[in-house]
């Protein structure tokens, strides 16, 4: 039990480190690069992302038996939530992982983005429990 716990923390740490490194080297932590993608000036990162999806698609076909049963599904928040996320992303240049890359590159104001994300997630938790109460099928539910 003790050893599997250590292994679990090491796995999560290793995956986080790898993902941070890769995202940073693609350039997703750089608002200049991101903005030039969003105004359709330089689509390099969009191709990188699409290529990653294509590669994952092939990989998931091979690994089909290992994929957990849990599915994402339509729910009332899918469209308004995605819109809100898209607008926020265009403004602060950070999706929930890119904020760490910005901080890692030494961008001090990204601290503010981080505070914002924590507030946003917390606010959603409260608002959801009070008013929405639909199943969000969020990424990790265990």
């Amino acid at each position: 039990m003790k050893q599997s716990r250590t292994r679990m923390y090491l796995s999560y740490g290793l995956m986080g480190g790898l993902m941070g490194y890769v995202i940073a080297r693609i350039g997703f932590g750089d608002y200049d690069e991101l903005h030039s993608m969003f105004i359709l000036e330089d689509l390099r990162m969009l191709y990188a992302f699409a290529g990653a999806v294509a590669l994952s698609l092939l990989g998931f076909i091979v690994l089909a038996r290992r994929i957990p049963k849990q599915e994402k599904f339509f729910q009332p928040g899918t469209i308004p939530g995605s819109m809100l996320f898209g607008f926020g992303w265009a403004v602060c240049g950070a999706c929930p992982s890119m904020v760490f890359i910005q901080l890692g590159a030494g961008k001090i104001p990204a601290v503010m983005t981080m505070v914002g994300i924590v507030l946003g997630v917390y606010l959603h938790k409260k608002v959801h429990a009070r008013y929405f109460r639909w199943d969000t099928g969020s990424c990790v539910s265990d």
Partner: protein, 208 residues
């Protein structure tokens, strides 16, 4: 300041999403990790009650359930107890196996913090590291003064936090893991957030 060409990035990012599935056994999804870290209190209580359930012997659980049933429905409910007994014991068993695979919120925190370290290493080794009081030249050009920069980031961050939770995923959960499995909700979500971001960026560009 050299970034990877698109195909190196595609190989590496696709590799990360596959490695995550192989090593951790779940689909990659960063906003889910955020939700677990921000909701650490609930997660801690869940883990505690799971541990209590595991430690307590079956007789103890049964007595507690019995007492709770009596308090809730009165003695009348007990008449049906003998009928329900067999399916009841089965239900307890499945709950017990489910709680064993519970991932504590600290593992998700480790994941997020490691992402910062990975980004830091990438920035240091590729000469991109630079302490700056602005996000980037373009960001400052769009938002102007330092007050506006900090406020835009706070509100942008709040929209990202609230929006990803509401949509049930973000770039990694819907965009990468979901689209690669051709899940309709993820494809829709990805199209919506990409076009929202593109639309607003074009508007911001036109407004300066």
């Amino acid at each position: 300041m050299e970034y990877w060409p698109w195909w190196v990035g595609a190989l590496a990012l696709g590799g990360v999403s596959l490695a995550y599935l192989l090593l951790i056994g779940k689909m990659l999804g960063v906003s889910g990790s955020w939700a677990k870290v921000v909701g650490w209190k609930e997660d801690r209580e869940l883990a505690r009650s799971a541990a209590e359930l595991e430690d307590a012997d079956d007789g103890e659980i049964e007595d507690a359930l019995l007492a709770a049933t009596l308090a809730e429905f009165g003695a009348g409910a007990m008449d049906e107890k003998s009928i329900d007994e067999t399916p009841d014991s089965g239900a307890t068993e499945t709950t017990a196996t489910q709680t064993v695979t519970h991932t504590p919120w600290t593992a998700h925190l480790t994941f997020l913090l490691a992402m910062f370290i990975g980004g830091l290493i990438a920035a240091l080794t590729s000469g991109q590291f630079e302490i700056e009081l602005q996000l980037s030249d373009t960001h400052s050009r769009i938002f102007g003064g330092s007050m506006e920069i900090w406020l835009s980031l706070l509100f942008g961050g709040m929209m990202v936090g609230f929006g990803t939770q509401m949509a049930g995923g973000c770039t990694s959960g819907h965009g990468l893991s979901g689209c690669a499995r051709l899940i309709p909700a993820s494809l829709l979500s990805t199209v919506v957030f990409m076009f929202s971001a593109i639309g607003l960026s074009l508007l911001m560009e036109a407004a300066i």
